[in-house]
Amino acid sequence: MNGQSVQGREPMSRTGANGAGRSGRSSLRGWGGVSAMVAVCLLALAAVVVPLLCGSVPDEVGRGALLQTGSGLAHARQAAADDSCTNPAASLRPSDATGPAVQRIKNRGYLIVGVDQNSYLWGYRDPGSGQIIGFDIDLVRAIASNILNTSTPKIVFKTVPTNQRIPAIQSHEVDMVVRTMTINCDRIKQVAFSTAYFEAGQQLLVPRIGTTITGFDDSLTGKRVCTAAGSTGEVQLQREPHGSRIVLAANQLDCLVLLQLGQVDAVLTDNALAAGQAAQDPQVHLIGEPLTHEPYGVAMNLADTDLVRRVNMVLQQYTKGGVNSQWMQAYNKWLAHNLPGVSGPPTPLYKD
């Protein structure tokens, strides 16, 4: 758990240029910083992603604008790297036709789903009953009921480690993974995603009392911020450390242990997972605005197009009905208390 610490020393005015330029840190000062910024602006313009970017040199950028600059640039780089991927969350149109993949599940009589047992409120094993429950699991039950056409479907939950999610799908070890999995441009080349069923974002979790941290800004100077190794949070912190020291843990829940023990001052993670942490400790809460937009999707094998369409159809029904939809019921049951302010599911996007 003693992840390596990275000392962040860059003043805020330079971090934008720094993250964007991705070249030598100390060389990006003065005119060097400005010209790097201009170069990146041109790149971003060429990709036609974030027009907002240009027309400001780092010293004049306001705090909020700088944050958008950071994530905007990330999108710009992705877009430049892969022109076809402008909207990874776009999926196949829904259909209830039974193809080979759906038939395979029907013949087998049960659905095999890769889940997490450690994400409180999303997918976790209740130590009392021994059952796996959560927001993700409610969705799994809806999908299984539809495919197997019964109100008490048989489901085999397989716990898959984070780094085994994609291999497990590719080898058909599981039919699908429903495990707070973010849809992004890299992953859609390896697995197929349903439409987005939730939109999360990186956000800061801090103690309610006795902290001087006000948000993802210079109030982080000199503070120790914990994030899971290899997570989006780590990338975000390395890009804009705001003078904080990064502490890496094996998994996001380990960060809450460190926060409670006073070994770190804040945790940066998905607000969806952070809400699960806040639910386990009423003395911590989320602050500031989400730094990124991360749509969650149900991941399936690229070949199982009929299954993807079927799941999208289930999602369409699941999210239908406004405040009385099954989606809203699940949200109110699991998330509303610790992740308030969500009015409904993200709008589904289709690519065909």
């Binding site: 716990t159 898959v160 829940l253």
Partner: protein
Amino acid sequence: MAAKTPASLRTAWAEAADRIRAASSTEPGRLRIIGAALVTLILAFGAVTAWQIAERSSAAQSVTSSSEPLSVDAAEIYRSLADANTTEAGGFLAGGVEPSAVRRRYQNDINTAAQLIAEAAANSQGSSAGQNQMQLLGNQLPVYNGLVETARADNRQGLPLGGAYLRYANEQMSGTLLPAAQKLYQLQTGRLRQDYSSAESLPWGTWALGALVLGALVWAQRRTYRRTHRVFNPGMLAGTVAVGVLLLWLVVAHTVAREDLADSWDHGAKSMQVLNQARIDSLQARGNENLTLVARGTDTSYEDSYQQEMATLDGPRSGTAPGGLLAQALSLADDSAGRSPVQAAVDDVVQWRSRHDVANRADTAGDYDTAVADVIGGTDTSGMRVTAASGQSFDSVDSSLQRAITHEGIEFQQASGDGRKALTGLSVGAAVLALLGAAGSVLGIGRRLSEYR
């Protein structure tokens, strides 16, 4: 005054030398000198023997009464810490509230460790390295216990955070406490080894001095025979016999003691070290087997550690069994009573490994409840009672190793006790025989001197 002292010293030396030179010009004078030299040599031999044997005897004494018990205590600290950690991880698998037997066993382990750490700190006159380890253990044990209590409280409320706390506590245990306990154990066995070598070191000086004394006595008697043509001088003969007996006693007793001590090291202390290591290794393997399921599929690191520890314990999977520490323990066991519990442990480990595979297959197939039942017992998903849980195999391994350790402990006590007893009375005997020898020589020389009056 200061200037005079060296001058007067020189004068005193010169006077003594003159007197000796004068004395050596007459036969009675020469006899007096020879007598004085013999008495000095014999008494010196007796004194050196008494001193060197007392030293070895006290080293042998401290093997049995101090360094071995301390090393056993250190092993027990090490074991109870590992046992506490393993027990707690097993308790978590049982659900929201751990069974009372688990809680009791954990509490006993913590109490034992705390008590032994306090005792070791109190009676250790040892190195600063040992003190550092004990201080670290004393400081970190309450911290560890606090983490476990937090984990329990969270687990009771149904929070996955409890599992995260337990994993963190496990990290403290395997990253800080167990290495400190291991270092302490190594320091104590190092001291034991040191006591052994001081008890076993050969008293070369005493042997050489004894031979020199005997030679001097023979020479003096030969000289008397040349001058008087009397074959025996009873006084000096008696002195020679006394010195000869002492030298023989010294050589035989110390050789016997060495043999016994070497035996107690090879078949007691060394076996016990290997067996203790094997026991702690099996405890850690069991802890990781439990944590694989507590961690609930987060990653494979616990399973990897389990496989590694089992390989250390019993050799690689593909190799011919037994290997590793258990094979070492088997080859160190010198009789069937020592071999049979180790052999039982070997068989249990084979069974444990195959049962672990069953549990692991259930876990990877997504059948968590069956996997848990396969590991700690209970009912599986289909409601069947699992009778072949890997926990039972582990318990058999643990009790077999415990039996083997007890057996080797008894062997050790016997052999090292014999070794210590072999030296009994030698120090006192050396003093008595040396006095006898000196008296005989004085009488013998005195008898010759009387002939000149």
